[in-house]
Amino acid sequence: MLQLNRKQAYKGLQHPGGELVLRQSAATKSSLMPPNGHVGDDAFVRFAGIQKTYDGEALIVKDLNLDIARGEFFTMLGPSGSGKTTTLMMLAGFEVPTEGSIFLAGRSIGTMPPHKRDIGMVFQNYALFPHMTVEENLAFPLKVRKLPKPEMEARIKRALEMVRLSAQGKRRPAQLSGGQQQRVALARALVFEPKLVLMDEPLGALDKQLREEMQFEIKHIHENLGVTVVYVTHDQGEALTMSDRIAVFNDGVIQQIAKPAELYERPENVFVAKFIGENNQLSGKIIALNEPACTVEMPGAGIIQALAVNVGMVEQPTVLSLRPERVKLNPLPGSLPNIFSAKVMEVIYLGDHIRARMSVCGRDDFVVKLSNSEGIAHVEPGVEMTLGWKMEDCRALRPS
C-alpha cells in the first residue's frame, strides 16, 4: 500500500523548472541551518554546490548543499533514481562530481581516489570476497594498511565479537546466511576504524524480521563506536527508526532535512508528506490567510481551517495534508474546527489497527486509521458518520 502511494507520489512530481529554483533555495537554507543546530563550520562532511550528470543533459544531482556533523547518523531517503546513491558514490569516490566540491574533515576530496579516503562502506549485496574466508575478508583492509600481525588478529577478533560471529571466522561467505553475511560486511567496513562509514541500502536483501533486528544492531554499533554514518535507503520506516537526521531526496534535489519526528509531523512539501508515512491530500484554494492559520475552500465541499506551512497568497491553490491517524470519529459538534459528514466505503482489518476508506468532501479516497480498541465495531461499509480534525493536523502546502 505504502509502496504504491510512494510510486504515485514520485510520478506526480514532475515539476516545471521555475518550481525547482524556489524549492532549491529552501533546501539550501535548511542545510545551512540544520534544525538540530549543527553549525556549518564544524561539518565533518560537506557537499558544496554539487552537480552530477552522466550524459551531459539530465542532472542526477542538482546543486546539492549538505553538511553532516561528526558522529551523526545521517540518512538519505528517497525513491530510486532520486540521486541519493549517486551522492553516496561521490562521497565514496566512485563517481566524480560534475561540479562543486566535497569536503571531508575540512579537506577537499574531489580528486582523491577511493582507496585513500579511509571511508568504510557497506554495499547493498554485501560485496564480500567469495574466495576468502570471513577472517580473510576482515584482514583485507588491515593487510592493505600493513598492520602488524598480532594487532591484526586482535582487531579481527574484536570485530567478529562485535557482530557476534566469532565462531564463523573460518567459513566462507557462501556458507553464511544473509543476515550473517550482512554482519560480516558491517564488521569489514568497521575493522580498520574509519571515521566515516557509508551504507548503501545494506538491509535491502533481508526479510522483514531480520531487517528490524539489524536496524537495532547497526544503531547500537553506531552509538557504541561514535562513528559517523551516512546511510542510504528507500525505506522510510528504516530511516525513521535509525537516523539522527534524514534528508529526503527527490529528482536530484533535497526536499527536506529534518529529525525523524519533525519530518513526520511537519513535512514541508507535498512530496515529503506523501513519501513519509501515509496522508490524505485535499486540493483547494486559500480564501483567507491569518498566520499561522489559513482558511481553504474546497470547491463544492466546504471550508477547512488549516495550518499555513508553505503557502503563497490568498486566492492561490494549495494542497492540504492530513495524517489518517489524526482523524477523529463522530466528534462532538463544535469540539473541532473541521467537522464533515462521511460515509464508510471499505474497511480493511490489519490486526493492531483498522483502515477505513471514506467518502468525505466529495472524494472517496479519504483514508482513516483507527487503532483497534473499543468503539470501532460500528465502522462497516455503508455506515454514515461525522469526521473531524484539528487545525494544526491539517497542513496547507504549496502544490507541486
Binding site: P114, H115, R117, G120, M121, F123, Q124, H131, V144, L198
Partner: protein, 416 residues
Amino acid sequence: MALTMGSMSGSTVQLPLRTKLQRVERRRKLRAFALVLPLLLFILITFVLPLSRMMRSAIHDDTLSLLMPRTTAALRDWDGKELPEERVYDALAKDLKRAWMEKTVGKVSLRVNYELPGAASQVKSSARKLSGLSGGPYKAALIGISPLWGERDVWGVLKRGGSSYTGFYLLRSIDFEYNANSRIVASPGEKAIFRDVFLRTLMISITVTAATLLLGFPVAYLLAKLPPSTSNLLMIVVLLPFWVSVLLLTTAWVVLLQDNGVINGILMSLHILSEPAKLLYSRFGTVLAMTHIQLPFTLLPIYSVMKSISPSHVRAARSLGAGPFYAFWKVYFPQTLPGIAAGCLLTFILCLGYYITPALVGGPGDQMISNFVAAYTNQQLNWGMASALGAILLTATLLLYIVFNKLVGADRIKIG
C-alpha cells in the same frame, strides 16, 4: 468374508513405506531412462564401440596366428638362440604355399614388414618361388631363395605372432621394440620418432594455450566491462573464427603466410625484409594459426565468469584501501580462475588432437600426433599403430585431466 476383506485391506495399508517409495521412484526412473535412451544408443554405437574396438586393435593382432598357423605352432618351443630346425622351415613352406594359393600372402608380408621394414617383398617373392617347389627339404632352399630366412629376426616376429595379443604397437609408439630374442630394447635412432612427436604435441599445445590466455584475458576483461551495445559488436568479431570452418581459416593463413603472401609482401614493400621470411611450413605459422582458431574457446569461459563477478567486489576492495592494481590482483583475478581453468583446459585438450592446421601450415618438423595417426590410418593402413598412438594420447589426456582435477577441482570449472 467380511473378515478376509478386512485383512486384505489391512495388508495393502501395511506395505512398507520404502517399498511404496521404490515403486513410485521406479516409474519415474524408467521414464527418465526412456528419454535419454536414443542418445545413449547413438553414443554407444558411434562412439563407445568404435573407440573400444580401436583401443583393442592397439594390442590385438591375430594376422600371423591365423594365416601362418603351422609355422607359429612349430615355433612355440624355439629358444631363439639359433636358426630353427628343418621341421619349422617345412611348416613355413606349407603356410606360405597356402597363403599364395589363397592370396593372403600380402597381409602376411605387410605384418612382417611392420616389424622388419623392407621384408615384405622378400616374403612375397619367397611365397611365389615356393609355389613352384614340389617338396623339401626346405631349410636350405628357403635360405637360398631369400637371406631373410637365414637370420633370426624374422623367426622372432613369427614366434611372437603365435599370440593374438602383441605389445609391439604400444612399444613402438614410445620408441621401444623387440629384438631377435624378443627382449624389449630401445628403437634405433631412425625409428625412434614418437617420443619427440608426443613432446612436440605437448609443447605446441602449451604454447597455443598460453598465447590464447595472454591475448584472450584482456579482451574478455574489456568485453565484460563495456556496455552491452559495444560489447555485442566486439563479441561478434571475437566469435568469427567459431563460424568459419577450421579448414577455411587454415587456408586463409596459408595465403597470408606464404613466401609471396600478404605478410611477406607488406614487410618487403616497407623494406623491413629484403627477402621473404619463412613463415609458412614453420612452427611459428602453426602456433599462429592454431592460436587464432582457439582464441574463442579460451576467451568465452573467462568472459562468462567475468560477467558474473559483481563490480561491487572491486569497489569494496577500493573502499577498504586497496589501490587499483592490488584490488584487481587480490579480489578480481582470483575470481576469474575457474574461467581461466576451464578455457585453458578446453583449448589444451583440443590442441592435443589438432590435425588439419599442422598438416597445411606446419613443416615436416611440426607434425603433431594426430598427423601420424591419420597417416597410419589412411596411407599405411597400419591400424595397430594408429590405435596405439591414439590410445596413448587418450590416456595422457585423461591423466592430465585427473591431475588438473586434483589441483584445481573440476567442480570449480565454469564454462558459463
